[in-house]
């Protein structure tokens, strides 16, 4: 037996690895992806690396903008003086807009008296690969973040928490090919399911053909899956594809949150207006 093991140790090892990986995938057929100790371990281990990189890049960019960039400052100063005159007239106009903004903000603050509990987090990493679009945040379980919590910006939905370690969390963007969540068309309240795609867009693939949907229409979260709270803007309808035959039409959306240049995001810990949020945390 020992001889047999020694003789075929390479083949046996290869077979073991293959079976282990196949079983691991088979175990996730229903759940799509399960986090495990290995993901937590490596994500926790890379957290200081990412934090340090972020810190270093900030330091280098401040040296660049503060010192090296000043080489052409004299010419720039002259140009700016010319611009100043023009900007003064615009500033007078801007003041009016600012006052209107302050009034609107007061109204908004009143409207948002029952605020959701949230955590502000910084984006310290971003992963874009053929089959994944993820963000890494610098806040984790120690701030109360759990799996499947919603991640948003003031503009709209960004994604949901995929995995959490003590000081870091990974966000699955709404444009991720594996992302899927229910939405409502704001205008006619039609329910649908939005999916990320391999080419980085989001779309509704099975939208009833007879339900009207216009270009530029707003799509918001429905809150039905118990993950993303209700009413957050997801995207604007950018195109509607209706084939000659078939029960459905395909609607492509333009995400309202600027997913390509996110620096800070908000993780919603508890949505006050949502009675069941989120249902599926670990």
């Amino acid at each position: 037996m020992l001889k047999f093991l020694q003789r075929y140790k390479l083949r046996l090892s290869l077979g073991f690895v293959l079976i282990f990986l196949l079983l691991s995938l088979l175990g996730q057929v229903d759940s799509k992806r399960q986090e495990n100790w290995m993901t937590s371990l490596f994500q926790a281990a890379t957290q200081p690396l990412l934090q340090f990189s972020d810190y270093m890049v900030d330091g280098v960019s401040s040296i660049w903008t503060g010192y090296i960039w000043l080489v052409g400052v004299n010419q720039e100063n002259q140009d700016l003086s010319k611009q100043l005159l023009q900007l003064r007239s615009e500033a007078a106009q801007g003041k009016e807009i600012y006052k209107a903004y302050l009034r609107q903000r007061e109204l908004l603050a009143f409207k948002q008296k029952n605020q959701d509990q949230k955590v502000f987090a910084e984006v310290v990493g971003e992963i874009k690969r053929g089959f994944s679009r993820l963000l890494v945040l610098n806040k984790g379980a120690n701030e109360g973040i759990k799996k499947n919590f919603a991640v948003v910006t003031p503009l709209g939905v960004v994604g949901k928490i995929q995995s959490v370690t003590t000081y870091q969390s990974v966000v699955q963007l709404i444009t991720d090919p594996n992302s899927k969540f229910p939405v409502l068309v704001q205008e006619n309240r039609a329910k649908a399911m939005v999916r990320g795609s391999l080419d980085g867009t989001i779309s509704i693939t099975h939208f009833p053909r007879r339900t009207e949907i216009k270009q530029g229409g707003v799509v918001v979260t429905s809150g039905l899956a118990g993950i993303l709270p209700k009413g957050f803007p997801v995207g604007l309808v950018s195109s509607v594809e209706k084939k000659e035959f078939g029960l459905f039409q395909t609607v492509t959306l333009e995400p309202v949150a600027e997913l390509d240049n996110l620096e800070e995001v908000v993780v919603i810990l508890y949505a006050n207006q949502n009675i069941h949020h989120p249902l599926f945390t670990d």
């Binding site: 995938l25 992302s179 391999l198």
Partner: protein, 168 residues
């Protein structure tokens, strides 16, 4: 010990570049885990390459939204033709390295798609996606292959090991 250093350096660099460095560049999404695994397989040529590929695949799976093990399985399967190529044809030919890496990158993504198709019903293939894959993944990976291969040779000198002669 020196061997562990090489693997750790490549593993850490891949993790850092994938999660941080390439996130800053919007037009550039190479899979550095695959490149590291490929370079080690091509240069080392030993059967250890299969396990290294699976290991780097698992690292790729840590920061991925696909089911855990998808990349590991794909890299593991790709490591067989890669090692065959390394033993029979490659012989450290730097000129052909970018082409080889580009081709294996596409093959690996194809295997990932196939695994997702077979196990999870993924069927959203599009030509646009394939174009993106070539432009953002395969070509940058091919471009990066030569400097990283030279870095591997430099590391060998520094750490006084010879992977291809299995002296470490």
């Amino acid at each position: 010990m020196q061997l562990a250093s090489v693997l750790a350096i490549y593993g850490l660099f891949s993790l850092w570049a994938e999660t941080y460095l390439f996130g800053l560049l919007t037009w550039f999404d190479p899979n550095l885990f695959l490149l590291s695994a490929l370079l080690l397989i091509l240069h080392w040529r030993g059967p250890e390459g299969y396990f290294i590929a699976a290991g780097f695949g698992l690292l790729a799976d840590v920061y991925s939204s696909t089911p855990f093990g998808t990349y590991a399985l794909a890299f593991f399967l790709v490591s067989f033709p890669a090692r065959w190529y390394a033993v029979k044809i490659f012989q450290d030919a730097m000129v052909t390295l970018p082409v080889v890496v580009g081709v294996f990158s596409l093959v690996s993504n194809g295997v990932v798609y196939l695994v997702l198709y077979l196990f999870f019903g993924e069927n959203r293939f599009s030509w646009f996606w394939l174009n993106e894959l070539i432009g953002r993944d395969a070509l940058p990976l091919a471009a990066l292959s030569a400097p990283l291969f030279l870095a591997l040779l430099w590391l060998e000198d520094r750490l006084r090991i010879r992977l291809s002669m299995r002296k470490f």
